[in-house]
């Protein structure tokens, strides 16, 4: 802990040297009105409905899983639209869902929950990559990596889970568009309890996160709302980051509003080398390089180092600069928040910055580094440092934006049969079949002459090929392609002309 804190201390000390060395604080900018409602309203959902476009449809078969059964066996049997109901019991497994539209739903009976138990041996409880996945009503505990991790699944719904000590992250959707994380309780996580990484159009609401290093983290993501959560007794409450070195480089349009962010003073038990390992214990909200973050209506109390900390990459610890990622926190808006009793036991470097600006009292809000087009609604209300460049916000609330979730699910696009056939034919079949020359398999022209108007004949053959020609090797079955793809490929193969 001492060493990790030292990192940010050293970083801030550099800033002080820079300031003394001639980096001037500009004059008070409060007379400038900055921003209006257009700042956050772009991309907002028109309906404001939270569950309309996320989660599984539940339209298919219900599979029941009971104590002693395998959840994964049910996933293997399930088809899109199906519901997997997990009854009370203890399940020691990693469940992975590489299918679309699946509901994984715990059944709670007389207060008894289904428990996924990692025994500190298993890596992750639930991995999903499909679109339209729901994970709900599970108690997940003692995994090493994550409770619930999504990789590129869109339209996800993760709710009503009780997650305890599941390693690095609790709920971690990555590369997802359109997702709702609601009514989960998470504790004992070594990094962020709820970590939204490289996602778009996300809503995180009504969760309780405590005894984690970070409560909720929005990282390299756009159009996120974090509201109505209770983040307490973490090292840091709510984080909005651009982490350098990731393939998607921006964070913007984040609204952090109406959360309780209370007593986040837990000693940092982050993994050495991780970005969060540099967070001082006692941080309410931390914005690192995130742009267009609006902070409104939160109750921020009892965080001993700072209530709200805005920083750039240069002043952050454990960070390697990335020329493709903008290091500054720009267009920050701090609207009205209930802030009280923060910064009462802060780190010496914040005290030094305070001295530099001739500020008295405990610092509630600190900005370090350049931050352009930023604003605060009321300059006089809180003790702040580094906010003289901030103008006065030209808007007082984001209330008219209910959500950034999409009105229609992401990526439910239809693929034209011709495109599907073309991609399969050139992308796979062409490895062995050319139009008019002999390769590993016979020329397409020969196949066309044989099957003419009978694509189903091709489908039947490639599904279960037999050796037909002495001068060619036997064809491997193409049954790994779905029936639709096989038919599209066959139809395309019969009409290709070169």
């Amino acid at each position: 802990m001492g060493k990790k804190l030292g990192l940010i201390v050293a970083a801030i000390a550099l800033l002080i040297i820079g300031a003394i060395g001639g980096m001037k604080y500009a004059g008070d900018n409060r007379a400038t009105v900055v921003g209006d409602t257009s700042r956050y309203s772009a991309g907002a959902s028109s309906s404001g409905a939270l569950t309309g476009s996320v989660g599984g449809s539940g339209s298919g078969t219900v599979h029941e899983v009971r104590d002693g059964d395998s959840i994964q066996a049910a996933v293997a049997k399930a088809e899109s639209g199906d519901v997997i109901k997990v009854f009370p019991g203890t399940y020691h497994e990693t469940v992975y869902i590489d299918k679309d539209d699946i509901v994984l739903s715990g059944v709670i009976v007389d207060d008894v929950w289904p428990v996924m138990e990692g025994d500190k041996k298993l890596n992750d409880a639930v991995l999903y990559s499909g679109n339209g996945i729901t994970v709900e009503n599970l108690q997940i505990q003692h995994y090493k990596g994550n409770a619930i991790m999504g990789q590129a699944g869109n339209n996800f719904l993760i709710r009503n889970n009780n997650i305890v000590d599941t390693g690095v992250y609790g709920i971690f959707p990555e590369f997802g568009t359109n997702g709702l994380i609601t009514h989960n309780v998470l504790s004992g996580i070594e990094d962020a309890a709820i970590y939204v990484g490289m996602c778009d159009y996300i809503h995180v609401t009504h969760n309780e996160v405590f005894n984690n290093v970070a409560g909720i983290e929005i990282e390299n993501s756009r159009h996120s709302i974090v509201e109505n959560n209770y983040a307490h007794d973490n090292t840091g409450g709510i984080l909005v980051f651009i982490t350098p070195g990731l393939p998607i480089k921006t964070t913007y349009d984040t609204i952090v509003r109406n959360n309780f962010i209370v007593n986040n003073n837990t000693p940092n038990f982050g993994i050495p080398g991780s970005t969060v390992a540099g967070i001082p214990a006692g941080t309410g909200i931390l914005n690192m390089a995130g742009d267009r973050t609006t902070i409104e209506g939160n109750i921020i109390t009892g965080n001993q180092v700072i209530g709200i900390l805005i920083t750039d990459h240069m002043n952050a610890p454990n960070v390697t600069l990335d020329p493709d990622a903008d290091p500054n926190s720009d267009e920050i808006a701090i609207l009205d928040n209930m802030m009280w009793n923060n910064g009462f036991n802060t780190i010496p470097e914040i005290t030094a910055l305070k001295t530099l600006e001739l500020v008295d009292g405990d610092v509630q809000i600190l900005n370090i580094g350049s931050s352009t087009n930023s604003c605060i609604l009321d300059h006089d209300k809180y003790v702040t440092v580094g906010l003289r460049d901030f103008g006065t916000c030209g808007f007082a609330t984001t209330a008219d934006v209910k959500s950034y979730l999409l009105d229609e699910p992401a990526e439910r696009r239809e693929i034209a049969a011709e495109d599907m056939g073309k991609r399969a034919y050139y992308g796979i079949c062409a490895g062995c079949h050319a139009y008019n020359i002999k390769m590993i398999g016979p020329p397409t022209q020969t196949i066309q002459a044989l099957y003419m108007d009978d694509p189903q004949g091709i489908v039947d053959y490639i599904t279960n090929p037999t050796k037909k020609r002495d001068d060619y090797p036997e064809m491997p079955p193409q049954n790994y392609l779905s029936e639709d793809v096989r038919m599209a490929a066959a139809e395309f193969m019969l009409q290709v002309r070169k």
Partner: protein, 402 residues
């Protein structure tokens, strides 16, 4: 300037002896008018990539995500003739200063388009500093070389072509060697219709890039799984896939599907083999001290074909390479580097068990697909033996050592 003719003449003599005059008849080389597999010939004589991955989207077109995520934008649209001309150039030792090496000497199709060596060997027989990376799927890459110092295939290839200790030619010699060859002059006219005069450097680079960008590997058993056929992988491979993408091992955080690279630079802190000096990697080619010891994250497709591993061949096997990641953050850094190297945040102590490492290796084996492997031309426009000096790993098998 062109090297002394005697140099080439003597080598040609050796080739004649080696072949006993059997194939040195006039080369009968014509360029393909069809696209290689994986490409559709479109109206303007352009080969456009086709793959089932085009059925999927990708967040911000970054081409990273999960099993069913779209690819980054590919370099495509070259003509069949340009691609095939590039194939001849790629395999022709005429492109080296002493006619001994072709691109394929270090990027051989039978060795995953690498060379099976820890570090490659140039025309003088001396070892260079780093390993030859695989060329599969370079069509999708944005940065080249281990230290990411080149921004295009055309820029990249000028490194090895003109480095004294690699192919050791010069722009002038290359233009002369190609331009003096009547077959190449004809083939360049076919590949660049309407172009006047002798072949240009840009035409040479374009053709080689066109060929390299045609090396597509997206039909492994893993891909069958990704497209929805879950029986394509064995239970062990599936277990390995789940270790691979778990947040304990964190492999997929940088080796992100569908290409199994996020194309970023990462400092992972591998020791150099055999007492070699620390390689600062991207720390020496950027002004970013945080990248000291940083290298480009390589894609893992056909990785089972390209041992040994890492930028200078530290690990002989995939098992050893996988084990590196569980031996502790910074464990292999020299003492002198420990305070000035910032190891990537995903390098930690995941405490993977022996069985998990075995499963990772199983899974990596499911990323092999060489179904679009191009043919080595049977004869070269230069009349030289295709490929030239073979990688040692292949020479004994083919009875050919030059």
């Amino acid at each position: 300037m062109r090297r002394a003719p005697s140099n080439k003449a003597s080598l040609a003599g050796i080739v004649v002896l080696a072949l006993c005059g059997t194939v040195l008849a006039e080369p009968q080389v014509e360029l393909q008018s069809d696209c290689p597999p994986g490409f559709e010939l479109t109206g303007n004589n352009a080969c456009e990539l086709r793959t089932l991955y085009q059925n999927y989207d990708s967040l911000h077109e970054a081409g990273v995500g999960g099993p069913r995520t779209g690819l980054p934008e590919a370099r495509d649209g070259f003509s069949p003739q340009q691609i095939d001309l590039g194939r001849y150039l790629f395999f022709d030792p005429l492109l080296s200063g002493d006619d001994s090496l072709s691109c394929a000497s270090c990027h051989h199709p039978d060795l995953g388009f690498a060379d099976g060596r820890p570090r490659s060997i140039g025309i003088g027989g001396a070892e260079v500093a780093r390993a030859a990376p695989s060329l599969w799927n370079v069509a999708f890459l944005r940065r080249f070389f281990w230290d990411a110092r080149a921004g295009s295939l055309e820029e990249q290839m000028q490194g090895p072509l003109y480095a004294d200790d690699e192919m050791g030619t010069t722009p002038a010699q290359l233009l002369a060697d190609i331009g003096d060859n009547e077959h190449y002059r004809r083939l360049f006219r076919d590949a660049y219709p309407g172009s006047e005069g002798p072949p240009t450097l840009d035409q040479i680079y374009t053709a080689i890039a066109a060929f390299q960008a045609s090396l597509i590997s997206l039909n492994s058993r893993y891909d069958q799984y990704a497209h929805g056929y879950h029986d394509a992988l064995t239970d062990r491979e599936k277990a390995g896939m789940n270790v691979f993408r778990s947040f304990v091992a964190r492999c997929a955080e940088c080796h992100t599907p569908p290409l199994f690279t996020n194309q970023q630079l990462a400092v992972i802190g591998v020791r150099e083999p055999d007492g070699r000096a620390f390689d600062p990697g991207a720390g020496a080619t950027t002004d970013n001290p945080g990248l000291r010891g940083g290298f480009k994250v390589p894609g893992l497709r056909n990785i089972a074909r390209t041992a040994p591993y890492m930028h200078s061949g530290t690990f002989a096997t995939l098992r050893e390479a996988a084990e590196f990641y569980t031996l502790g953050r910074g464990h292999a850094l020299p003492v002198a580097e420990q305070d000035r190297v910032t190891v990537h945040w995903h390098i930690w102590e995941p405490d993977l068990g022996a069985e998990e490492l075995d499963r990772l290796v199983d899974f990596l084996g499911a990323l092999t697909d060489e179904s679009f492997k191009p043919q080595v031309p049977s004869q070269m426009p230069s009349g030289l033996l295709p490929i030239g000096k073979l990688p040692e790993a292949l020479a004994p098998h083919l009875g050919q050592t030059n």
